[in-house]
């Protein structure tokens, strides 16, 4: 069978298998009342240039990116928002750097003013060294912001009980860390992530600690609905290439999670039948 376009995929591979995979990998993701086809959320911090950031966003296929607020003298130029507008992504303001519920609530209100969205990635950190969430302040802030009509996506520890308390408080999503922000240490307690996933009805987004593509795939295999990462892409040597790797890892992990993996066994189990083995 001849084809006139050498770049076209062969009919043998173009039809069923890839089409099936594509369809399942992009099953819709409902978050705070909106529907997304991408399950990869990207943070914009850490990119070496706006050009690099734009290429990474496009390669990642993300539809939702985080942004922050800082004093105007220290903020990025308006060109960053132009890039994000051009990419057609939705903005998710964060409360990065806040140490108390009071600071985080005020920052969320300011972000709603600046960005015109009630969505907020709620982040209340306990100290500068670990950047680990302060669960007490976090829950206080979540309750107040939910009462004010915010759609709260709560960055939290991998504690399933705290995750449940945040979901009960009305958070739109619970976002447990895999390991500390920017550490690239991956998912230190997969069991807790799986427990947390089973503890809440709202979406669970693995947020922070991702180092490479296999970490993102594992998050999805553990049942997370999406992955949020920044440094793993923006600080990679080749952000665009890593962004594509993360996109494919999230899709692969989603597919694997729905495919029903084989049980782990202590001993081998042959896949080639023993029946009919010749006597040689």
């Amino acid at each position: 069978m001849a084809t006139t376009d050498p770049a076209a995929p062969s009919p043998d591979t173009a039809d069923l298998a890839p089409a099936l995979g594509r369809e399942e990998a992009t099953d819709p993701f409902e978050l705070a009342g909106e529907t997304f086809t991408s399950r990869l959320l990207l943070g914009t911090g850490g990119a070496p240039s706006l050009e690099s950031l734009e290429r990474a966003i496009r390669a990642s296929g993300t539809q939702l990116v985080t942004v922050a607020l800082r004093r105007v003298e220290a903020s990025s130029s308006g060109a960053m928002l132009d890039v994000l507008d051009r990419c057609g992504v939705r903005l998710l303001p964060n409360t990065a750097g806040c140490r108390t519920a009071r600071e985080a609530v005020l920052t969320a209100r300011l972000a709603r003013e600046a960005f015109g969205t009630p969505w907020v990635k709620l982040e209340v950190i306990g100290d500068e060294h670990t950047l680990l969430p302060d669960g007490v302040e976090l829950l206080d802030a979540a309750e107040e912001l939910v009462a004010e009509g915010f759609r709260v996506l709560a960055y939290t520890t991998d504690d399933p009980i705290l995750g449940r308390r945040l979901a009960d408080a009305g958070c739109a999503a619970v976002m447990p860390l895999g390991s500390p922000i920017g550490s690239g240490l991956g998912i230190r307690n997969p069991h807790n992530i799986a427990l947390l996933r089973d503890s809440v009805a709202v979406p669970v987004v693995l947020d922070a600690g991702i180092g490479t593509a296999s970490d993102a795939a594992l998050a999805m295999e553990l049942g997370c609905d999406a992955v949020l990462l920044a440094s793993a892409v923006t600080r990679a040597r080749d952000p665009e290439r890593m962004a594509l790797a993360m996109r494919q890892a999230v899709e692969a992990g989603r597919l694997a999670a729905g495919a029903g993996r084989i049980p782990r066994r202590w001993h081998a189990e042959a896949s080639t039948p023993m029946q009919g083995l010749p006597d040689l």
Binding site: L69, S75, M80
Partner: protein, 66 residues
């Protein structure tokens, strides 16, 4: 009179408005948010909100962040 703008003490004319200080500081940013003494000042109130001596104003703009 003296007020604090983004952590720095500044001499400003008496009864200066938030809108005037934002215009002076925001340099090209349109998606700006303002806090006065720890409370949000909505954009619709900038022109009508006057500062008093000792007030602390924060003028914030979008930046990249995880």
């Amino acid at each position: 009179m003296q007020v604090t703008v983004n952590g720095t003490v500044a001499d400003v004319t008496d009864e200066v408005t938030v809108a005037e200080l934002v215009a002076e500081r925001s340099g090209g940013h349109d998606r700006v948010a303002v806090a006065l003494n720890g409370d949000v000042v909505p954009r619709s109130s900038w022109a009508g909100t006057r500062l008093a001596a000792g007030d602390a104003l924060e003028v914030l703009a979008p930046t990249a962040g995880g």
